[in-house]
Symmetry: D2
Subunit: 271 residues, 4 copies
């Protein structure tokens, strides 16, 4: 039997001046919506290596303690089996029906002061609700923001991006999550691989919690990419979090010089 | 047999202009370190009421959909059975030994841009480590901040408080968590009741993840109150979160006028 | 001969705990566009009192060194003789034709990070220019902001107000100035009295530097009030500055408790 | 007669995509404390060129409207005749004795939220006053900040630098001004040339308004460089402002690509 697969190849190399703790998160998450057909992860030897569950039990974080130059090669082939309902038709859940695990995604986070956007959201998006409202927000972002590498940095919040009207995928996702939360819709940040991303790199999108069309009164997470580059039918999730503060592919607890970072994502037929 | 108990009485009243979703979190958490001897929660009738697990499964959040005036009366008696190691003697865990659930508490959150404080923390607290370092931070906060009600608001971050040198328990806790995270120590925000709080009110402190003296290579959360008002031997936890964004006693998804808020916490012998 | 006058009555009272330097700016400025028919200023005795020229030589600032309770009573009658061109018809000056004294009003100031709004201004107001563009901005503010006392404080910037969509006259003026500067139009903050302000109080508006219809190639300052409450034909200027940081009616260099603040402004026929 | 001179050579080149207004400020200011022995300014032809007085009438700003590549060569030789009192011995002026033109330099500006630092300044520097207090602040900055190019950007405020403890001359000057203003001492930002700056570039320092030792009850501006690189006996002032927002050497009202920027400053004997 043939199936289409998303194929990922990642090379990372970095240099540490002294023994340093490093947290990595770059592997395709082993979750029901994506079947990992094959995966190889080649790592240099480290003084310590451990994998721990990542946020919401989606994917793993990898702890290293390493020194000098460190190289990572990762290749995986993943069959994406995600249900893809028509977002526009999805109902909003009443806040009081939200399950406990979705509640934290209503709240403000490091880069997302959503509370401050309630008036804007009511004025601009108050005429629709649920999935239609989310799509209106995503369209608004697509038409009001410009994709400009290099204008944002580690301190840039969704509020900054909203004002300056430019940024990269991280910033687009922040604004999307900010507007959704301001409307009372739980929203989280997703790090993923997608073949449509240009230039190829790690990518970030939003995920909103709306009705699950397959479960009466149930809710589910649905991918939304305001940059329009990712196709949820092909996207392979790495991990999730409140915002970019939670899902870096590399966090270093000490000086770390990035030497190489390459990502290649393609679609292919797999047997 | 006699045991000492912490006794809590809370009265809340608020008015809603129309049917509004409300999220409450004020009940003593049912967790091993505190035995709930008795608890009564008297609530006005609501169109919807559900309890869901709160963050890290500590305590419950209560969803309401209510209208008009709404009254809450809560009384509980709780025997605190918390282990109280000498914080100063607790070792720091290597970052690479942290369990998955502690990792999110290393990261920046809404009110806590900890990354920006790494230089300050290295300079000011670099000569100690682990619990001794945490106590040095707590002492620094106690001697450099003034407890001044009314100077902070819903936008005030730990960075604001660090600069302005004044605030209330929420702000003290934010600075404590910020300094700990900047030193690579996981830290979270804890909402609790304590008889030593003056004037009596909901209280907030920090909790840091350091070695568990009872478990080889294990880690545990330890309470630290930079205001010095709470005594961990008496404190009754309500819930935890990344920072104040996560653990309000009341979050309203629409206009809500607070009419009454009274908290009384005492110590007594209980049979 | 009869002329219409704007009549001002102000009462201020404040208490100082110890000898404290106070800077006051509340008197009608003695400038060509407004003729001061009468003015009385009754001040308690102070250890020191001096008037110094205020920003751009518009009005005076008054230094006091006072102690205990201090009372100010001010009454003035002012004939406003301001030229009132049709703003919509005023041309924009090329930046390179701006006189030296207008240049500082192109730059960012404490509450006005105008540079960050260039993309927004180009997108939203790029189809008009000069006075027509300024009026489009003022209209946009009038229809997108709500006048809500109490939501802003001494840290609230024009960027905050732009996002939160609410504020008072100070905040409306900040957004107006921010948008104008982002379009390369010098704009300053004006403190003034106007009978149309409800409830009566000190008022703040913007002033933009556009062509002077009476002087070939010349430029002049023109009042614009995005709240719509002030009528430039009746407004009596107190002072100007980069933003609210520059033109408080009272700045205290030490603790100061405000006891009374009342402002009454009316129109009358004067002989 | 021989005198020592500070010799300046500057080359700037930039490219404009279309006719663009440019504001330049790089010439040695023609003010009593520095005698311009010789100066040549070679500019490409522009469609418009005008010089206007800069802030506080110190130096000139130059308006250009240019297109394509534009080259600037500037050379000057300047004899510095600045009075250099012992800063430590200078008294503070009472606020209420400050002249009108110094008052604006007490207030917050774009990058300098000085009001928020009053508690810190009282605690850390409350035991001294006047020039001694200023030097204590400058020493504190020198020992608590690290000079690190590349960590600050156009949004970085003095508050950011205070927290992050690193920056360049612009950031050091901002913190110096912020602390002085928080103590009620007028302080402004000075752009200048100095042979001691490494690597050679435009430089920025602070200037504080304290007693003028030569004038009874008078005040004067005194240079203070918390980086320690500039020597006021050799520094040649270009211009002043509230903070870096006011004194860029180049402000472009449209896209502008910097092609070359070189500054050379030396000391020599001049006849």
């Amino acid at each position: 039997m043939l199936c289409m697969a998303t194929n990922i190849e990642v090379t990372l190399a970095f240099r540490l001046e002294q023994p340093t703790d490093i947290l990595l998160q770059f592997e395709a998450a082993d979750i029901p919506e994506q079947q990992i057909l094959s995966a190889t992860c080649s790592l240099d030897e480290a003084d310590h290596m451990a994998r721990v569950p990542a946020q919401d039990d989606i994917g793993l974080r990898m702890w290293l303690n390493a020194n000098c130059r460190y190289d990572v090669h990762y290749a995986a082939s993943v069959a994406v089996e995600r249900l893809l309902p028509d977002i526009a038709s999805l109902a909003r859940l009443d806040s009081h029906d939200l399950p406990g695990e979705a509640v934290q995604y209503l709240f403000d986070s490091r880069y997302i002061p959503a509370d401050r956007f309630q008036n804007f959201v009511t004025e601009e998006f108050g005429s629709s609700t649920g999935g239609a409202q989310v799509l209106a927000m995503s369209d608004w972002i697509g038409s009001h923001l410009s994709y400009v590498p290099g204008v944002s940095n580690a301190n840039t919040t969704g509020m900054d991006t909203f004002v300056e009207r430019q940024g990269v995928c991280r910033d687009y996702a922040h604004v999307m999550i900010m507007l959704a939360r301001a409307a009372g819709i739980p929203a989280r940040y997703v790090s993923l691989y997608d073949p449509g991303v240009t230039p190829q790199d790690f990518h970030a999108v939003a995920e909103v919690f709306l009705a699950d069309p397959g479960v009466k009164d149930g809710g589910a997470w649905h991918l939304v990419d305001p940059t329009g580059m990712a196709d949820p039918a092909h996207s392979v999730k790495i991990g999730v979090g409140r915002d970019a503060a939670d899902v870096s592919f590399l966090t270093s607890f000490g000086n770390c010089e990035m030497l190489e970072q390459s990502v290649s994502v393609t679609r292919s037929e797999d047997e």
